[in-house]
């Protein structure tokens, strides 16, 4: 039954792309956890915050407009301009770096040497705080997010990123894949490549790996932990931005976006909390797994298996292989 087979393959590919998204969020977790031992509960909210900031800047929204209007009795909401996506992304990256600096300066710098559970609680606080700030800054209504995947209206003249609809044929059956998914996958691959190059071939990358491996040793070779933690939170912020934009482009920027962090948890249990390849492969397995499971088994047991499949899989892993797929087995390479 080739029809079924082709359909299964389409499901597989779609799962792969959902997995890319999970992997991205998990990647942000792993980066921070490796470097500082902090389990960053706020990673999902960071993605939300980044996406909202991006859209806000793009649309020329006035930050904290509600607050300003309430205090001064004004009625401003928009600057009245629109910012090209590329510049909006650059500006948002700047905001995420500033956020990283503030998080380190005002929170974690004062918690050096504390128990992991305390650091974890701090990130929960951070998550709610950031959610509040995002709300206050950009408002809570759902926003559309366009990154010019299908048209060029938001890019400077002469740059062409348009991707046509993507279908191809196998065994005479047409495949249809969302071009947004393709773009997302390509961007994710680029991002991971960039991270690898950064961590393997730059001074800062080497210092980052050093801090992830041993704090004391890192200090002894002249690495400032504080500087590296700011760097790591910035990189995690950047990863959050990419995840936030991609997710937001798919289903709009809204507060539920911060919940993708919950899907990253089972990914981490599969891949291990300290393994970057683990985060990527774990993300793909869960993405593909839940789609295929829903496709093959779902109809028999009433569907909606995507809600719980990942967690059950993670639970099985916790029981039979608590160190995750890659824990201890491979040598860590960020």
């Amino acid at each position: 039954m080739p029809e079924q087979l082709v359909f299964a393959m389409e499901v597989f590919l779609n799962g792969l792309m959902a997995g890319v998204m999970y992997a991205l969020v998990a990647l942000g977790f792993v980066l921070i956890f490796k470097a500082s031992g902090i389990f960053n509960f706020a990673q999902g909210v960071m993605a939300l915050f980044a996406a909202m900031t991006f859209v806000g800047i793009q649309n020329g929204q006035v930050p904290f407009a509600h607050l300003i209007n309430a205090i001064f009795g004004t009625k401003i909401h928009y600057f009245g301009w629109e910012v090209y996506s590329v510049f909006a992304i650059l500006l948002t990256v700047g905001v995420m770096i500033l956020l990283a600096w503030m998080v380190q300066r005002f929170v974690f710098r004062h918690l050096v040497g504390q128990e992991p559970i305390i650091l974890f609680m701090a990130t929960i606080g951070l998550a709610y705080f950031l959610e509040g700030v995002a709300d206050l800054m950009w408002g809570s209504e759902i926003k559309r997010l366009d990154v010019c995947l299908t048209d060029n209206t938001c890019l400077p003249q002469g740059i062409n990123l348009a991707i046509d609809e993507f279908t191809f044929e196998i065994f005479g059956y047409g495949f249809f894949i969302d071009n947004l998914d393709i773009t997302a996958t390509i961007i994710a691959i680029l991002l991971v490549t960039l991270l690898v190059v950064f961590s393997q071939y730059t001074k800062q990358g080497r210092a980052m790996r050093a801090v992830a491996d041993d704090h004391q040793a890192a200090l002894s070779v002249g690495v400032s932990l504080n500087a590296i933690w700011i760097l790591v939170w910035s990189v995690a912020g950047f990863v959050a931005l990419v995840a936030g934009i991609m997710w937001g482009a798919k289903s709009g920027v809204q507060f539920s976006l911060s919940l993708i962090a919950l899907k990253a948890l089972p990914v981490l249990m599969l891949g291990g909390f300290t393994s970057i390849p683990g985060a990527i492969i774990g993300g793909l397995i869960i993405g593909v797994g839940e789609k295929l499971f829903e496709f093959a088994i779902g109809p028999m047991i009433g569907g909606a298996t995507e809600n719980w499949f990942a967690y059950v899989l993670a639970l099985l892993f916790l029981v039979f292989r608590p160190q995750g797929l890659f824990g201890e087995k491979i040598i860590e390479r960020v």
């Binding site: 071939y201 730059t202 001074k203 800062q204 080497r206 210092a207 790996r209 050093a210 992830a212 491996d213 041993d214 004391q216 040793a217 890192a218 200090l219 002894s220 070779v221 002249g222 690495v223 400032s224 932990l225 040598i331 860590e332 390479r333």
Partner: protein, 272 residues
Amino acid sequence: MLDQTEGYVTADGRKIGGVVMEMKNITLRFGGVEAIKDISFDIREGEIRAIIGPNGAGKSSMLNVISGFYIPQQGEVWYKGAPRPPMKPFEVARQGIARTFQNIALFEGMSVLDNVMTGRLTQMQTGLFAQAFWKGKAEAEETENREKAEKVIDFLEIQAIRKTPVARLPYGLKKRVELARALAAEPTILLLDEPMAGMNVEEKEDMSRFILDVNDEFGTTIALIEHDMGVVMDLSDRVVVMDYGKKIGDGTPDEVRSNQDVIDAYLGVSHD
């Protein structure tokens, strides 16, 4: 800049320079425990300076004060002729003071070469953006650093394990890799905390030879800790002896050996 109160010439004809580091009345407390009690001594350029004493005497604490890991309650550390403000360990490292640890602190997940390369971090100048946009300069720097790292690796005879992950190495080799990483920084002062602890006789001889060679070849000033008196006597030019946080002797190996306080301290404890 160095204190030029004249140096001296060792028995084997090496010329020792002025004072490069001076500890002035250092006192360090942990709660009620006084780990270091009002200790002063100096380290001269080009010499091998040993700190010895029984376990718990406060030797590692002293090294941690020098390298910025501990901040003393009292006293000053003078470096290159000027008092040093309280500093973070990474700042001390950037001033040209490299160290190893009693309980080995290597990057276990990295290869030997990568570990040694981290030793070059203090020497790398190019910023992140320069690295991204000025590839030539970054590459030239990387090449130079790699050559220096490889030279250190050759010098310490660990070429065969260059690519091996450190986690897989036996204890003795780990100690040597840690020395290589410290050496890669081309330090002004090299601090070694019990570089020979836990080694067999052959490994100890190798390590002694390397320490002497480093000092000889690069003129590196070395301060090293041992709790076994025998090993360091042949190695060092001058020795500080500590016991229960106090300095009980300071001088050449011969002077220290004949010092009654030192003899008593060592008779009173078991040598392990």
